[in-house]
């Protein structure tokens, strides 16, 4: 396949000031990303622009400004080439329940124009451990199996880039683990995986790099390890009864309130614990429990994005089908 002269083979996805506006609302604001052969996670609260970004990269949505290249093809001028090189699994879990697993995959093989659709379908069904149930209707498949069936559909033409929108949402722990193990195998085989999620623990554990996005703006891009270093301190959570007051101690900084607890960042957690307890007691606050931990991706996320809750009206159809018209 011919590539443009400017194409940097190290990166399968490159975006240039990618922007999407809906009227006054800027859903995605000047996003610049370079994604190579890795599991790249895009993390953000609901409505932060994750899905909009994916929709633009998969050529389903035209950007308002800026552009992007996927596998060296411009999403604006060569959308069909882009679609030939990628696969996209939306969040909705749309498999045809009245078709068998094999028929579901075979249909996609034909739509992708795969040379030997039957053999190739068998192969991906085997890879995703669905061979023994392949001739049953997808109606009887569990959520995890349906998601694996969607992965099989997506893999049937050997894409270079795989876009996954919330691949593990609604699945139980075992099914999630299995999905991520498959994703890791694909990465090891040289595929680029671009995944949106709001499960911090999964992003922490499985993503090679993570971008944190809020209100359409990228707040940080790095490995989970490096992101956690943004909060170079220990996290101390104090459960109290009575009025909450701050403390004035060197090396201790108030972070945020969480339920009935006060969260502090401390340079040296071990030493700060008794000091905080004493300071709070002196202020007349009763401490009921204290805990000390290393920062998690959750903390980084809250640090960068804040604790503001999604204030948009809850909409059932949006919830069912978050891939559509999401800001």
């Amino acid at each position: 396949m011919e590539k443009e002269a400017t194409y940097d083979a190290r990166y399968s996805i490159v975006t240039y000031d990618l922007t999407k506006k809906y009227g006054d609302l800027c859903a995605v604001n000047q996003v610049n990303l370079s994604v190579g052969t890795e599991i790249f996670g895009i993390l953000g609260p609901n409505g932060s622009g994750k899905t909009t970004t994916v929709l633009m990269l998969t050529t389903l949505l035209e950007p308002t400004e800026g552009t992007a290249e996927v596998c060296g093809y411009n999403i604006h001028t060569e959308p069909r080439k882009v679609r030939e090189s990628i696969s996209y699994v939306p969040q909705d879990m749309a498999v045809d329940v009245r078709l068998t697993g094999r028929e579901n995959v075979h249909m996609f093989a034909e739509l992708y124009g795969v040379q030997n659709p039957a053999e190739r379908s068998d192969e991906v069904l085997r890879i995703l451990e669905l061979s023994d149930r392949a001739d049953e209707y997808a109606k009887v498949y569990s959520g995890g199996m349906r998601r694996r069936l969607e992965l099989a559909q997506a893999l049937v033409h050997n894409p270079k880039v795989l876009f996954l929108d919330e691949p593990t949402v609604g699945l139980d722990v075992a099914a999630r683990k299995k999905i991520w193990e498959h994703i890791k195998k694909l990465r090891n085989a040289g595929m680029t995986i671009f995944v949106t999620t709001h499960y911090m623990d999964e992003a922490d554990k499985y993503c090679d790099r993570v971008a944190i996005i809020d209100h359409g703006t990228i707040k940080a891009i790095d490995t989970p390890e490096n992101l956690k270093k943004i909060i170079s301190q220990d996290v101390i959570s104090v459960s109290v009864t009575g009025p909450c007051t701050g403390v004035d101690l060197p090396g201790v900084r108030f972070a945020f309130f969480e339920d009935e607890s006060i969260v502090f960042y401390a340079d040296s957690g071990d030493e700060a614990l008794p000091q905080i307890k004493d300071a709070l007691s002196a202020n007349g606050v009763t401490v009921t429990a204290m805990s000390l931990r290393k920062p998690s991706l959750d903390d980084v996320f809250l640090h960068l994005v804040g604790t503001e809750e999604d204030k948009g009206p809850f909409n059932l159809s949006t919830f069912r089908n978050m891939t559509r018209r999401r800001g």
């Binding site: 929709l55 998969t58 050529t59 389903l60 949505l61 069909r80 679609r83 030939e84 990628i86 696969s87 996209y88 699994v89 939306p90 969040q91 909705d92 879990m93 749309a94 045809d96 009245r98 078709l99 028929e103 249909m107 996609f108 034909e110 739509l111 992708y112 124009g113 559909q153 876009f163 159809s317 069912r320 089908n321 891939t323 559509r324 018209r325």
Partner: protein, 241 residues
């Protein structure tokens, strides 16, 4: 395999395996044939079922097409649409697949209804009458399938579509020449019936039975069909994901 055919086959398989959609689509026109064709006290002809069969055939196409438009809405609601849009084939093949499958469904259903009409005593069609009837049913089917697809894409909501569907079917059917000849109509209905696209299809089938070729009707339906397909493509291209 052409992607249009792949999409079409998918919907056909789902339809056959769905059973009840299929059964219900058959029972309604069959009931019409039975209760209207055989039971209505009609004086202008002594074999009313011969007269009403073209009308019921066209009604079968009408209800099959409008029911078929719902397929597009469900595909969008359930997220299939986005998956299909991200595939390499030209996106219009999704639309043409739907128009094709809706037309095929209408043809299959009207074939069964035609057999039922013959069973109930309608005069058998000659091969050339049959060919003419199918020609008109196919053009009319593609026309209505495109119209249903356009409405479905435009409304993009299952309840709204069902409401629009119910609103369209009855007036369109009763203001056509399906139930009675123009001579028997009240004078205010005659001009309405003459511009109703259903009448063109029904009259066309009736003219074929007299041994003539209804060029006006075929011409009008073909032009309208091409125009509505154009509308459907236009509406489809403007779909926001």
């Amino acid at each position: 395999m052409n992607p249009i055919l792949v999409y079409c086959r998918r919907d056909l398989i789902r339809w056959f395996r769905g059973k009840w959609g299929f059964i219900s689509a058959m029972v309604m026109p069959a009931a019409w044939l039975l209760f209207v064709g055989l039971a209505l006290p009609i004086s202008f002809t002594d074999n009313y079922i011969d007269f009403v069969t073209p009308g019921i055939l066209v009604m079968t196409i009408l209800s099959a097409s409008l029911a078929g438009g719902g397929l597009l809405i469900l595909d969008r609601m359930l997220g299939f649409f986005n998956k299909f849009l991200a595939l390499p084939p030209p996106r219009e093949s999704i639309l043409f697949g739907k128009i094709l499958v809706i037309s095929i469904r209408g043809i299959i259903q009207s074939t069964i209804i035609l057999c039922f009409a013959f069973l109930l005593g309608a005069k058998l069609y000659t091969p050339s009458q049959l060919a003419g009837t199918y020609l008109i049913l196919f053009i009319f089917g593609a026309l209505l399938a495109s119209a249903a697809a356009s409405i479905a894409i435009y409304l993009d909501d299952h309840d709204q579509y069902a409401a629009a569907n119910a609103m369209i079917t009855m007036p369109l059917f009763f203001s056509s020449s399906a139930m009675m000849p123009y001579e028997q109509m009240p004078s205010w209905l005659i001009p309405v019936a003459h511009i109703n696209p259903l009448s063109f299809a029904i009259d066309g089938i009736r003219i074929f039975q007299t041994g003539e070729i209804p060029l006006t009707q075929i011409g009008f339906l073909s032009i309208l069909c091409v125009f509505i397909i154009g509308v459907a493509v236009h509406v489809f291209r403007k779909v926001q994901v």
